[in-house]
């Protein structure tokens, strides 16, 4: 007969450890998101380059990254790159892998957001003799950002939920810590349940946050400095 006993004392004992691991998870997500947004924007702009070669290469890089599993990319960065003299900490590797992987997905979001800007806006910018840089910065991106928020937010939440994959390269994020606690105490119920609950709570909070950002984002008057 399987006994099903939930021990609150044990929960209180391990909670600080799991919460401190949650900080690692959140840090990886935060840094990964920032990198993913930068990478995504760069890819999206490269896909619109005047140079055919640049467009084609970017297309295949994005396709490659999207079509290979995140775990393979994580392993590659962590185990293969050192053979070329590049070795990074698990956290840095994780951030890089998440940033690159989700950057590829975000580039499609950004690309369609930019494509959604009316042709007339580009033409007016050109007629006013704005440079390409100013056109993107002042005219196109400020208008494109609002419609990009929901999809970008979803990808960031998805990224957050994929951080356990970083346990494969010994990053002490939540799941890894829970596993260690479990194996040390021969009790898995409480640590894994806590991890599940924390993921749920963070995801719900993040989803609500994104919803608020989208709703509050100004329809007019938003400009980039």
């Amino acid at each position: 007969m399987i006994s099903f006993d939930w021990e609150w004392a044990f929960v209180l004992e391990i909670l600080p450890m799991i919460l401190s691991a949650a900080k690692v998870t959140l840090l990886a997500t935060l840094l990964g998101s920032i990198l993913a947004i930068l990478v995504g924007l760069s890819f999206a702009l490269l896909r619109r380059s005047k140079l055919v070669l640049l467009r084609v290469v970017t297309y295949w890089v994005v396709e490659f990254v999207r079509s290979t599993p995140l775990l393979v990319q994580i392993f590659f960065l962590y185990y293969v790159l050192p053979e070329f003299g590049i070795s990074m900490s698990p956290l840095l590797t994780g951030v890089l892998a998440l940033g690159l992987h989700y950057g590829a997905y975000l580039s499609e979001v950004f690309r369609s957001g930019i494509d959604g800007i009316e042709k007339g806006q580009w033409e007016a910018a050109r007629a006013l003799n704005l440079t390409t840089y100013d056109t993107y910065k002042d005219i196109v991106l400020p208008q494109a950002i609002r419609p990009m928020i929901p999809a970008t937010g979803n990808y960031i939440i998805a990224m957050f939920k994929e951080t356990p994959q970083l346990s494969a390269i010994t990053l002490l994020e939540m799941l890894q810590v829970a596993k260690i606690i479990g194996s040390e105490n021969f009790r898995y119920l409480e640590p894994f349940t806590l991890v599940g609950i924390l993921y749920l709570v963070f995801s719900l909070v993040a989803a609500y946050g994104i919803h608020c950002i989208e709703r509050r984002f100004p329809k007019e008057g938003f400009t980039l400095r």
Partner: protein, 257 residues
Amino acid sequence: MKQPLIEFKNVEKRFGDTVIFRDFNFSVEEGEIVSIIGPSGSGKSTLLRILMTLEGIEGGVVRVAGKPLWHKETDKGLVLADEKHLHEMRNHLGMVFQHFNLFPHMTVKRNITEAPMRVQGKTEIEANKIADELLELVGLSDKADMYPNSLSGGQKQRVGIARALAMQPAILLLDEITSALDPELVEEVLDVIRNLALKHSFTMLLVTHEMYFAREISDRVCFFDQGAIVEEGEPERLFIHPNEERTKAFLKAYMSQ
């Protein structure tokens, strides 16, 4: 002989297999106001769009103020221009669009100050001064801090005109600027252009369906059909005594509407 401000020489323009212009010649003198009329699809707007560098050409040469617009003069003859040359050439031109194309996320004033600040490097104070003057000119001083979406079509287009004028172009291109407006809003926009024509010595090139306006304001009217100028001349002559059958048919069809 004085050189024309705008000159199309043997210009060829295609969209895929569709030929818009072949061996097209056309010129405009400095200070001249020229209206282009004709049926849709006759290449009227394309002419303006080529001048504004929104459309390239496949053959021939377009000159603005004596310099080739789409080409650079080199020892080996004309070569296709780079962006830097186009950027320089665009300083001569300003365009007002049929669908306004205002920047919806910017206030009316910012729509006008954007280019003077970014392109001409004017300070915000200088640019605002220009915007204030232009808004007064188009009668919209009270709308400076509003966003385009809260304006009527006629007001939007007046902002469009002010925005183009802010760059002080020598040539103003007006592409069916009243076509997207409700009939009762057409006059307020045309009044601004009348005013401009009266007080300033702009070179204006307008594509329009408002025949009475073309007749009233133009030094010369060109009737376009199928990528060619079928007939051109002083407005009174062209509207009252058109020579060509196609011009007569077009004007007749227009009058009966």
